[in-house]
């Protein structure tokens, strides 16, 4: 096995974004098999962090920095992976569009959810804060996501989650995507009331919910 895979794994576990990029660039330059780099490097690393998280040995900075490092490195490999280089193919566990709803600029909870989803093997497209329903849907359409995850921290912006579900209805896209919601003032009941496909109170529960929805 090429020793660089182990180095990539360690870079992910250490949450070292710069090193992850540097190693990914080396993979491209030296024409090392990118699929192997993903499977034996990036995914091995994030799996190790994910396991430590589940055991209560890793904390949020560990997981979030690992997810950031993974994303940065994978972005470098994207072109060669898309070109079909390397042995076999790399498949993520599902694509998820994630964002904070219109009118709301809180993003920490959303970022935590994004990191844990990434560490669980999902490909997360984070569209940021204060996002309109159409922005969520446009991104989901562009990347072929199955799940749209919308966050809201304020009682005054929760209604934007409802707007998102209504927008999908209006566009006849309701069956195309699973919509999940979360955020401080939201509840299971609120999720049911607005016709979302799921609600999660914590980031861990959001991961479990996505796994269940994509089964």
């Amino acid at each position: 096995m090429n020793p660089i895979f182990e180095e990539i794994k360690d870079a992910i576990v250490d949450g070292d974004e710069d090193l992850a990029i540097e190693l990914a660039e080396k993979v491209v330059e030296e024409k090392i098999d990118p699929v192997q780099a993903v499977q034996l490097g990036f995914i091995k690393g994030i799996e190790e962090v994910g396991a430590a998280w589940t055991n209560g040995e890793a904390f949020l900075p560990d997981v979030m920095m690992a997810a950031d490092a993974m994303k940065a490195g994978m972005d470098v490999l994207e072109a060669v992976l898309a070109a079909g280089e390397g042995e076999g193919t790399y498949e993520d566990k599902g694509k998820i569009v994630l964002g904070t709803v219109e009118g709301d600029i809180h993003d920490i909870g959303k970022n935590i959810v994004g990191a844990l989803l990434t560490s669980a093997g999902f490909k997360v497209y984070d569209i940021g804060i204060d996002q309109k329903a159409e922005d969520f849907v446009a991104k989901a359409d562009e990347v072929g996501a199955k799940i749209i995850a919308a966050s809201s921290l304020l009682t005054t912006t929760m209604k934007s989650q409802k707007v998102l579900v209504e927008y999908l209805d209006d566009q006849n896209l309701r069956d195309t995507y699973k919509v999940i919601i979360g955020g401080g003032p939201t509840s299971k009941k609120w999720g049911e009331d607005i016709g979302a496909d799921g609600w999660a109170e914590t980031a861990d529960e959001a991961v479990a919910l996505c796994k269940q929805l994509l089964e």
Partner: protein
């Protein structure tokens, strides 16, 4: 009153203060609201887009304009409150969207809950105000929620209360409604009667909604709490000194804006900074670090010469258990004994501001009573209090139970618990009720026997007419 103790040395105050000023001058603060940007430009501050870089000397000069204390006026003057100095003001929790019931159930808060908590605060001997947004009444439309909430405070009690700061328009509605209650905008400009909470968005931002509220209150000369909640480890540095510097910078920026708009506007230095739980990302408030942030803030408020808001009966517990009790006692005690003047969230809060609980409210009310007694300290001012004569009279080996001195003094010297059980085991075990069960009986009893103080029918009519008119306009 007990002397308030400091937790920071002068050198530590200096270091944090200078760190904050450097943050304001070099990094700057983002104000999303254009009218606020205009104000800073007019005062010669460097602005890039929506980011404002505040000159250190300018900040110091503006903060000095804020009064050290002010009186908040109630519709019943007996309930007027002085905010600042040695005074302490307690009130219910603020902003929780959920109610956790005694049986462990969780539900959306409603307007009926709102009225109940206002009444419980109105009835309490230990709570000085009925607060504001005592729960989020999720069964009332957003557009008119602020009016319904203000009405509940006006009608269910004659104590001071807080108004909405949710945008310029809602803030103005509450100010005008309070003016109707007190006899005009000029009257309340002279005698402030409504206070609101303005929060920064940490790190280093203020949003449109809050800035709109801030400008409305400043223009009307009504006081406001300018508060920052740094979640150390996520929205701020994981070191206490770093998080405190960040909080301090944000609060100073907000206070500076209020004094630019209307010099002398009463403001309260607000702190709700606490920790991020590093396993879940949740806010965590029932901890010693929160108590330290609050005590340091009280000291900073004294340093800047303004009143301080912080603390409360704060807990991360989900039910009224031992954790709820010990966390709440720690945070309320720390705030109260180190000089906080304005204590939002004194009663009712569970799970880091997410929920109110009736039972927790009664437990916190008891804690508040205990802390208020503690703050009164020793009274050594008279021979009567020194009790030499009665000690002489009883002499060695006697007892004091049948002395007039005892009968006269114990009622004022001793805190009398309303909730705690001091019975023998046998007496207690007849019902074996724990604190939560007793608290449940207690709040039901208090609500059943509470009669809201009457409001002058002429004023009541005017208040209701104002609300009806605005509701129609807002729901159009």
């Amino acid at each position: 009153m007990l002397p308030k103790f400091d937790i920071l040395t002068d050198e530590q105050i200096d270091k944090i203060h200078n760190n904050s000023l450097k943050i304001l001058q070099e990094i700057g603060v983002e104000f999303s609201y254009d009218p606020a940007i205009e104000v800073f430009k007019k005062h010669g501050q460097r602005v890039e887009g929506h980011r404002v870089f505040l000159d250190s000397d300018f900040v110091k000069k503006m903060v000095e304009k804020a009064p050290a204390q002010f009186t908040l006026h109630a519709r019943n003057p007996e309930h007027n409150l002085i905010c600042g100095g040695e005074n302490i003001i307690y009130m219910p929790g603020y902003g929780a969207p959920f109610v956790y019931d005694a049986d462990g159930g969780k539900r959306d808060a409603t307007m009926a809950d709102y009225d109940n908590f206002v009444k419980l605060a109105g009835a309490s001997k230990n709570l000085h105000m009925t607060g504001g947004t005592v729960v989020e009444p999720t069964d009332v439309e957003d557009e008119i929620r602020h009016l319904k909430m203000a009405y509940s405070h006006i009608i269910n009690s004659d104590k001071c209360f807080m108004g909405s700061s949710s945008g310029y328009e809602h803030a103005k509605d509450c100010i005008e409604l309070t003016a109707v209650l007190h006899g005009g905008l000029d009257v309340i400009k002279e005698k402030p009667a409504l206070i609101c909470l303005v929060n920064s968005v940490t790190p280093l931002k203020y949003d449109d909604r809050m800035l709109g509220g801030l400008m409305a209150y400043a223009e009307a000369g009504q006081p406001m709490v300018i508060a920052s909640l740094v979640m150390a480890g996520s929205t701020g540095p994981a070191t206490l000194a770093g998080a405190m510097s960040l909080q301090n910078a944000e609060v100073l920026a907000g206070i500076t804006l209020t004094q630019c708009i209307n010099p002398g506007t009463p403001v309260v230095y607000g702190c709700t900074s606490a920790l991020t739980d590093m396993s879940t990302g949740s806010l965590s408030i029932g901890n010693p670090e929160n108590a330290l942030f609050v005590s340091a803030s009280a000291q900073f408020a004294r340093f800047y010469g303004v009143p301080c808001r912080g603390g409360g009966g704060l807990s991360d517990a989900k039910t009224v258990d031992a954790q709820a009790g010990y966390e709440s006692m720690m945070t309320l005690f720390a705030a109260s004994s180190t000089g906080v003047n304005f204590v939002m969230h004194t009663a009712g809060i569970l799970q880091y501001y997410m929920a109110m609980s009736y039972e927790k409210f009664m437990v916190d009310d008891e804690i508040a009573g205990m802390v208020l007694r503690y703050l009164k300290g020793f009274d050594c001012d008279s021979d009567e209090k020194m009790a030499y004569e009665v000690i002489e009279k009883v002499g060695p080996g006697g007892h004091f139970l049948t002395q007039k001195h005892t009968r006269k003094n114990f009622k004022t010297e001793f805190f009398r618990p309303a909730l705690s059980d001091r019975q023998s085991f046998d007496s207690w075990s007849k019902d074996s009720l724990d604190t939560k069960q007793r608290a449940k009986l207690k709040w039901q009893e208090v609500l059943a026997s509470y009669t809201p103080p009457e409001l002058d029918p002429v004023i009541k009519e005017k208040v209701e007419a104002f609300i009806e008119k605005r509701s129609k306009e807002l729901l159009k």
